[in-house]
């Protein structure tokens, strides 16, 4: 379980968030949804250790940490594959930086490649394969982090509908089959509704949680689900009432 308590960050004498609390239970996707500039990116920066918090604590599995570097894996809407490495080299990066046994890691990569339909493409380079294959390779890399916690940075927004759908199913696979806990930030309501188990609506300046919504576990979800559409309208109203513009 990930728990954040009393987290405070001041930036240029402005409070980005103050005494911010969040608890994410195992094997769930917690989504932080808020307008651009509400402070969710700064919150992520604190989690990843890009910037230091001015107060409060972060703990994972009961152990208090300064940041989640070395603890969490990371996924982004871009596959973040390095073009100078082959697919297998990209997948082996986490093992390489952790100085693990590369032979054993290679066996795990090969198994995952077969499992995700990438078998035989190990030595291909990112520019030689399709976008969908690159996404799957990024998923293999995420799994090779071998970490129970995954941070998702707007994983689906700004993707075309086909790419979005394939990445969505990969992320759900990550949850259902590989039992990962995920924390995701986004400003995109659709994306939040497709993936969230626990949805936190955020307000800006300073960032705080307006409301927490628990969603039913009926994934994969569809956009045209009437219940979801009603929920979306409600969320849009709340966020607009808060005085900020939200894309969606």
């Amino acid at each position: 379980m990930l728990s954040v308590s009393g987290l405070t960050k001041v930036f240029a004498q402005q409070l980005v968030f103050s005494r911010f609390d969040l608890a994410v239970k195992p094997n769930r996707i917690a989504v932080l949804l808020g307008p651009s500039g509400c402070g969710k990116s700064t919150f992520f920066d604190v989690l990843t250790g890009v910037v230091r918090a001015d107060g409060g604590s972060i703990s994972w599995q009961g152990q208090e940490l300064v940041h989640l570097g070395g603890i969490a894996a990371y996924m982004h809407q871009k596959d973040l594959l390095l073009p100078w490495f082959s697919l297998v080299e990209n997948s082996l990066l986490p093992a390489r930086t952790a100085a693990e046994d590369l032979k054993a890691a290679r066996i795990r990569v090969d198994t995952l490649f077969d499992r995700l339909g990438l078998g035989g493409y190990q030595e291909h380079y990112p520019h030689q394969v399709s976008g969908g294959m690159r996404q799957r390779c990024a998923l293999v890399r995420t799994l090779m982090f071998d970490r129970d916690l995954v941070l998702l940075d707007e994983p689906l927004s700004a993707l075309d509908s086909i790419t979005r759908k394939s990445l969505q199913s990969l992320l759900l696979l990550l949850q259902s089959e590989f039992q990962r806990t995920m924390v995701m930030i986004t400003h995109d309501v659709d994306e939040a509704l497709l993936l969230a188990d626990d949805l936190y609506l955020l307000s800006a300046c300073p960032m705080r949680i307006i409301e927490r919504i628990r969603l039913r576990a009926d994934k994969p979800r569809r956009f045209d689900d009437p219940e979801l559409l009603a929920l979306k309208n409600g969320i849009m109203k709340k966020l607009e009432a808060d005085g900020d513009h939200v894309q969606g």
Binding site: T48, G49, V50, L68, G69, G70, I71, A72, A73, Y74, H76, K78, L80, L82, P83, W84, L93, P94, R96, T97, A98, Y125, P126, H127, F145, L151, D153
Partner: protein, 249 residues
């Protein structure tokens, strides 16, 4: 051959043709402006004379580039690794560019002598700045998401440097090097003009003084060919190092 290449080739032939016929019609003396045909024949027939000078100049250019790289790569890396180092050094780097480096050429000859050392130094101080700056910009241009990825993997700075920042900055590095090789040629020749015992610049000064204008042009032709070879050499190296250049993230 593409249409653009064909046009460029035709334009070149047209210019050379005009030059050649102009020289013949107006009977321009060869010690003022020799026709291209005379320049070409001098460049070929006098090759045994020109070659040793060309080798000297080539050595100066290549060593100058080498020296610049030996300074620029660690400097850019250090300035990227330590913020305080960049803050401390960047005023000096900018100030060094305000000095007209060619004006230093006579001093370099006084300090380092008439040999190749002063020319190597001349070439390298001109080009080390564009290489350092473009490399540093390349390091800094690395996308945030990639940095976060490496941070979460738990990679240290030098590991990230090797796996991420350096390959990331390679295109910038080559852009700097491309500028560098062209300017290094100028640096070496100016160094030779000021004071030398060998080199194409020295040959040009000598020939000019004796009104052997065809030899001056022949030396320029050799110099241009050398510059082009270096330019294409860098391009070849770039293609070898970055086969994925067309790739968009």
């Amino acid at each position: 051959m593409s249409r653009a290449n064909l046009l460029a080739m035709m334009l070149l032939l047209l210019l050379l043709g005009l030059w050649e016929t102009g020289c013949r019609i107006f009977e321009v003396p060869v010690f003022i402006l020799p026709p291209p045909s005379a320049i070409l024949s001098t460049a070929v027939t006098k090759a045994p004379l020109i070659l040793p000078h060309a080798l000297t100049t080539g050595l100066e250019i290549v060593c100058g580039i080498g020296l610049a790289l030996v300074v620029a790569i660690p400097l850019a890396t250090g300035m990227f690794a330590w913020d305080w180092l960049e803050k401390a050094l960047s005023p000096f780097l900018v100030a060094s560019q305000a000095i007209p480096v060619f004006a230093l050429a006579p001093l370099l000859v006084v300090w380092l002598g008439y040999g190749v050392a002063s020319k190597i130094f001349m070439a390298s101080i001109i080009i080390f700045f564009p290489i350092t700056v473009s490399l540093l910009e390349g390091f800094k241009g690395c996308d945030r998401e990639f940095r976060v990825l490496f941070r979460l993997m738990g990679a240290g700075f030098w590991q990230t440097m090797r796996l991420l920042y350096w390959p990331w900055a390679l295109p910038n590095f080559f852009a700097g090097l491309r500028v560098g090789v062209t300017v290094a040629t100028i640096g070496a020749v100016i160094g030779e003009w000021v004071g030398a015992q060998r080199g194409l610049g020295y040959l040009m000064i000598q020939a000019n003084a004796r009104l052997k204008v065809d030899l001056v042009f022949a030396a320029i032709l050799w110099l241009s060919v050398m510059g082009l070879l270096l330019w294409f050499g860098v391009g070849w190296l770039e293609k070898r190092s970055i086969p994925y250049k067309e790739f968009k993230f």
